[in-house]
């Protein structure tokens, strides 16, 4: 038997491939409830680990003893890793000790399935009850809906947690059959469906009754592993779009597949671009779907199903749609402005606010903190075009070339030379 220190480390090691960390989406005042803690809608990051990822929640598994043998997962039954479990009491106490010292924003509790989905979900619910009722914890809780568990248990968890998630992991039934033969897409989507219905019913209840308890107030999220199976970026981003449309998910997280242990079955597709860069591109595209009004089929299609190592998805989209450019920065509506590479939400609203008073000169445009060297190809300022002689895909790409070698330095392990020659 390990002591608590060792077990916490083992279970952190087991949980770390789950990428979700956000503590956002719900605002809850303590209001002198007699308890401790609150939740802030903007989310708070508390620390950044050596891999640069933020630590917001105590991300931990209840146990890593698992009956499943999913090829991509570090905790699969056939993998030789140290195994440990924490009791609901231990998890609650550690969460409180860390929370009071402001190490964390709350708890992200997940678990391997050691006996049955129901047994696992029961222990998760018990932990949440301890925290919410006995410790009067008002901080953030993100909890995993264990696929296959009794809907009543998921319902109970939903009234105690801020956010819930059910991980899709692999975006197609074939991949799932190959790498996780004991799981089915149907059983994964079932809790997701239940949570979504629960949330929309709850929205009504909250309006009608003053004392209604909120159900998963910060919404639900999911995660997909990328690079373990041969799905294209187009399939992935399409799957995300469906999830956003159908289940109103708050987030889809992408996790670049890292071979853990001794994987035998994993299909090793020839990597088109380094996995971390691919993950980065998917996140960029995901932002375009959620905040920039893009649709998946605008960004990629069957003929060009992959993102590019050298240019971000918005730039690729713009280069392919030169017929829509250039736009006049002093007149284009907000929705068009944010589609220009190098202009984000903040810059676009800055431009819209300022041009109401007086049209912007080119010097002023440069000072709005847009990325001029990228945006200049796609706009005119007071009717004048600053993008050089001709507006052609090759011309823009050549002019931008020096930029990507710099960009790639953000990703250790991705050598500039490696990515070279993989343009679209």
């Amino acid at each position: 038997m390990y002591d608590i220190y060792d077990r916490l480390q083992i279970l952190a090691d087991s949980a770390k491939y789950d990428v979700s960390c956000s503590s956002s989406g719900n605002e809850r005042k303590n209001n002198r409830s007699g308890g401790i803690g609150n939740a802030r809608s903007f989310g708070i990051c508390h620390a950044w680990a050596a891999d640069g990822r933020c630590i917001s929640l105590l991300k931990i598994l209840m146990t890593n003893h698992c009956v499943y043998d999913c090829a991509y997962c570090i905790n699969r039954a056939s993998n030789d890793v140290p195994r440990a479990s924490l009791t609901p009491e231990e998890i609650a106490e550690t969460t409180m000790a860390f929370y009071r010292r402001n190490y964390i924003e709350g708890l992200f509790l997940s678990s391997a399935v050691d006996v049955s989905p129901n047994r696992t979900m029961e222990r998760i619910v018990k932990t949440l009850e301890l925290l919410r009722h006995q410790w009067q914890f008002q901080g953030y809780i993100h909890v995993k809906a264990i696929p296959g568990a009794d809907p009543r248990l998921i319902q109970q968890a939903g009234f105690l947690a801020d956010r819930m998630s059910a991980n899709i992991e692999l975006p197609s039934s074939e991949s799932l059959r190959l790498l996780a033969p004991q799981k089915q897409l149907k059983t994964i989507l079932q809790p997701m469906n239940q949570i979504q219905q629960g949330i929309s019913e709850n929205r009504y209840a909250l309006k009608q009754y003053r004392n209604a308890k909120s159900f998963v107030p910060a919404g639900q999220s999911t995660q997909m592993i990328i690079g373990a199976t041969p799905e294209s970026d187009f399939q992935l981003i399409n799957a995300s779009q469906k999830l956003y449309d159908r289940f109103q998910l708050k987030r889809v997280f992408y996790s670049a597949y890292i071979p853990v242990g001794n994987p035998k079955k994993v299909l090793a597709p020839i990597p088109r671009i380094a996995p971390l860069m691919r993950e980065h591109r998917l996140y960029q595209a995901d932002w375009l779907l959620r905040f920039y009004g893009f649709r998946a089929e605008e960004l990629l299609d069957e003929i060009k199903p992959h993102f590019d190592a050298d240019f971000d998805p918005k730039m690729i989209w713009a280069i392919r749609h030169l017929e829509q450019f250039p736009i006049e920065i002093n007149r284009a509506p907000f929705e068009t402005l944010i589609r220009v590479p190098g202009i984000g939400h903040k810059t676009a609203s800055r431009i819209c606010n300022q041009r109401q008073l007086a049209s912007l000169s080119v010097e002023e445009v440069k000072k709005t903190r847009l990325v001029w060297k990228r945006a200049r190809f796609f706009l005119t300022v007071r009717g004048k075009y600053y993008g050089g002689r001709s507006l052609s895909p090759e011309g823009i790409k050549t002019a931008l070339q020096p930029e990507w070698s710099h960009q790639l330095r953000l990703f250790p392990g991705t050598k500039g030379g490696h990515a070279h020659g993989l343009s679209i």
Binding site: A12, S33, A50, R100, L357
Partner: protein
Amino acid sequence: MDYLYDHSFDGFLTATAIHFQEKRASGIFPETHYQYRLGEETRSIETDPIRAATFYHELEECFSPDVAHKCGRAFLSDHPNKENLLLTYLNFGFRKGRGFDAIFTHPDVEPVQTIAAAVEWEAARFLGLIRFQEIKGILYASFSPDNAILGLLSDHFLDRLHGEPWIIHDTKRNLAILCNGVKWRMVPFKRDFALTLPREELAIQQLWRGYFTHISIPERKNPRLQTQYMPKRYWKDLIEVNSPHFR
């Protein structure tokens, strides 16, 4: 004529009110750091809290609550010339009128926007980066932020740690917020002795350090990204990275 004030926001607002309502100042400076300039007369401004409050209210009325709020934030900046940036900003405002703040790119507006945003950013960052240590039932945290953001943290932690006594100590400015769980107060504060931590506290810190190390994925090690979010100058007060092992 240069106006000299007493470092307080009320003092600054009083000086600014006199500038706009009585006699123009050529600059506003904190009295203790003032370097006398040749041929420049000075006037010591006596802080008038009522006049300051009235003037602040006028800023809200004349421009917008957001502009007044922004002045308050920019004033907390560690920019050595923040008073005169603010003075230029407001001069421009009274010349242009309501809505002047949207002319983001104007050289009189942009610096204030920038330093106010930096203050907001740092305060938001420290909601997460404050680290308490429990000593005799009191939660104590020390930190040394770039800007004077101590006061911006108080309401958040009062709500979060309701009922618990805590201290947040700005070691750079020798100030602290003392909170008894219900109310807080900002006081001058200095600690010139080393903390002796109880064994339980050390055990929890050890647990946290272990967790912090293990949650990182070795294949994705990226120290540059880490320090981008968590600059090294903050590390000495961060439990997870301040032990000799990490330095």
